[in-house]
């Protein structure tokens, strides 16, 4: 039997008891240590002792990204800073960044989980693992590197060199496992396809895709072109690192790591639980996190629970691949952007009401690039071109500093963006 015999094959009764115990101790702990949750419990009119089974999960308050941002930097920590050994700061368009702390145990859990992901993909100490990720996914890359090392594989860590150099490394170092996003893999494929590198010299056997959803078309494409077996994983840095859920050898949905998380599907509009099998927003509760335990974190990702047991024999719950987001947030090269909040940034530099704008995402050689099309008004352009260029440069710099993502600001006449805005579209791909 593949996989971790101790934790992935429990009976439903065993899962229920174990998750309930972990949920109760998590609830007791956050209620005592995190004022935000204490207040949220009071607002919801519940006590920790009201959680008698997993069916009571719906009584607990939700946690959102906004809550994380508003409690910047340490407001949601359940452990004193002396216990925290690492902090991740997730930038975005929220007013303040999101800070996630980890104790030594949290890091071990994340590492063990990602190691389980590698083992499920068949990675062993005989493998050469090359990690190619965009800078926006650096944290993910670092955790994957540590876990692949824990498995004993030889690891080529993420390096900010362009795709052609990565492809060359892949050939020269005889990489067997490529860890990347589907779009980055396509950039590498493009290099090979351009004839600059001999396809026959490839020693790849496995692709592990993180950070973006792997479509079935992509899977077939990589199988055909690179002759690799592709595995997909799902993780969000706020909660889990790279391995909250991952595909098994059957490649039929993603198995949730139920020894660390409870997953539920809710209606994104009213927050009510969805019937099993129906699509809704994925909500995740951490069960073993020490520094940053989160109750019912709203991921914004839409998926559904797969009811049927998996043929691999694992008894962990499966979810279907993420179909789309239920909010306006877009992810560009691993960085989450809320288009609505871009206006707040603009308002810091342009006096008066925020001028109309749209975000335009263009893909060039499988690399997503962001442009902000800003409607020109008298506040922005009073006839002086140098002044306009200066404003654009300041806006671009401020955006990159805040989000970590570069963008181009393009001044446009209102009539250019008006038709899109009238259709309610703030983002154009």
């Amino acid at each position: 039997m593949p996989g971790n015999k101790n934790v992935e094959y429990l009976s439903s009764q065993e899962w229920h008891q174990w998750q309930m115990e972990l949920l109760q101790s998590t609830v007791n702990s956050v209620y005592r240590r995190v004022p935000f949750y204490q207040q949220a419990f009071k607002n919801a009119g519940i006590e920790p002792s009201d959680i008698l089974s997993l069916n009571d999960l719906h009584k607990l308050p939700f946690t959102t990204r906004k809550d994380l941002s508003e409690n910047y930097p340490y407001g949601l920590f359940a452990r004193p800073l002396r216990d925290i050994v690492r902090i991740h700061t997730l930038r975005g368009t929220l007013q303040k960044p999101v800070v996630i702390g980890c104790t030594a145990q949290d890091l071990k859990h994340r590492r063990d989980l990602a190691a389980r992901l590698f083992q499920t993909c068949g990675v062993t100490k005989e493998d050469i693992v090359q990690i190619c990720l965009d800078p926006g996914l650096t944290t993910l890359g670092q955790e994957l590197k540590e876990s692949a090392e824990a498995v004993g594989a030889l690891v080529i860590p993420p390096d900010p060199v362009p795709a052609p150099a990565q492809a060359r490394v892949m050939m020269d170092f005889r990489t067997t496992v490529l860890v990347t996003t589907p779009s980055y893999a396509k950039r590498i494929v493009r290099e090979i396809d351009a004839g600059s590198l001999p396809l026959g010299a490839l020693t790849l056997k496995t692709g592990l895709f993180v950070g973006e959803q792997l479509s079935e078309e992509d899977r077939s494409f990589f199988k055909e072109f690179l002759s690799i077996n592709s595995f997909s994983s799902y993780g969000i840095l706020e909660v889990s690192g790279p391995a909250l859920a991952f595909e098994c050898e059957m490649q039929d949905g993603l198995h949730i790591a139920m020894d660390h998380f409870i997953a539920e599907i809710v209606n994104p509009q009213n927050g009510k639980s969805m019937p099993e099998g129906e699509e809704g927003e994925l909500v995740v509760t951490t069960l073993t996190a020490r520094a940053n335990p989160l109750l019912r974190f709203r991921t914004g990702d839409l998926t559904r629970i797969i009811k049927e047991p998996c043929k691999c024999g694992r008894t962990t719950m499966r979810i279907a691949p993420i179909s789309r987001r239920c909010d306006n947030i877009i992810s560009i090269r691993g960085i989450k952007i809320d288009p609505g909040e871009v206006g707040e940034l603009i308002s810091e530099y342009v006096p008066g009401p925020v001028p109309p704008y749209i975000l335009v995402i263009q893909t060039e050689n499988f690399l997503e690039k962001l442009e902000i099309w800003l409607s020109i008004n008298e506040e922005i352009f009073s006839g002086s071109l140098p002044q306009l260029h200066n404003l654009i440069a300041r806006l671009e710099e401020a955006f990159e500093q805040k989000t970590g993502l570069s963008c181009k600001v393009r001044p446009r006449e209102y009539r250019t963006i008006e038709p899109l805005l009238k259709k309610g579209r703030l983002v154009v791909r």
Partner: protein, 246 residues
């Protein structure tokens, strides 16, 4: 083997255990650690039927024992070694051990009882040497051995050990802990141990739960908990200070 769900107990109007859930699998040693007054002993007393819970359920070996009497629970194979030993001091060592098998002798289980008596003596040769000695004259360590031996005589499937190291010299504590491991590994006994000496308890157990003011606030493998900074500060006390100051 033992599954507890949402257990609430109280002494008169004072709530002690508040929604406690835990489980012990067959063959495991599980430790329960916590400060004085956290409710550790209350939990063991409730499991063994001496205290009835207000709410919640306890299942042992597939049988709900929440409302069963202590003697029924012992008959099902769950024995408690109480805190402070509580042996019968005027009786001899052997008489104490035979009393542990009281329910079995009444079932004409004589031969098996004699065999288990020998097993206890081989586990604790000291008790064999003192078999005819009055129990009240034994040292603290010997009395603890006798208390464990007496619980073993009931032929349990699972032992509940309440503070087995209490009042013992460090050397004796080690010896008692070794015996607990051998009861688990050689005799196949499942064990739930309550212990103030958290370091020792975590060293011999597979998993552990941390109880604070009647609530479980942390759990995990003992290997992991022994490395947890908070556990080190709160429960590993002096030993931890000694190590960090070295």
């Amino acid at each position: 083997m033992l599954t507890i769900k949402n257990l609430h107990t109280r002494y008169g109007p004072i709530p002690v255990l508040k929604n406690v859930s835990l489980h012990v699998k067959q063959g495991e040693i599980v430790a329960l650690i916590g400060t004085n007054g956290a409710g550790k002993t209350t939990l063991l007393t409730t499991i063994s039927g001496l205290l009835k819970p207000v709410k919640g359920s306890i299942q042992f070996d597939g049988v709900t024992i929440t409302k069963k009497s202590p003697s029924e629970i012992v008959a099902l194979g769950l024995s408690q070694v109480p805190e402070g030993r509580q042996i019968f001091t005027p009786l001899t060592v052997e008489e104490n051990l035979e009393l542990g098998a009281y329910q079995r002798t009444s079932r004409n289980d004589g031969k098996a009882v004699s065999k288990d008596l020998e097993a206890v003596y081989s586990l604790f040769p000291r008790l064999k040497e003192r078999r005819k000695q009055v129990a009240g004259t034994l040292s603290g360590g010997e009395q603890q051995m006798l208390a464990i031996g007496r619980a073993f005589m009931a032929k349990p499937k699972m032992l509940l050990l309440d503070e087995p190291s209490l009042g013992l010299a460090p050397k004796l504590v080690d010896s008692i802990m070794k015996t607990i491991v051998s009861l688990n590994q050689e005799q196949g006994l499942t064990i739930l141990i309550v212990e103030q000496n958290a370091r020792k308890a975590l060293a011999i157990s597979h998993r552990a739960y941390v109880l604070e003011t009647g609530k479980i606030v942390l759990q995990g493998s003992s290997e992991e908990l022994i490395e947890d900074s908070e556990i080190k500060r709160a429960y590993l006390g002096k030993d931890y200070a000694t190590i960090t100051e070295r």
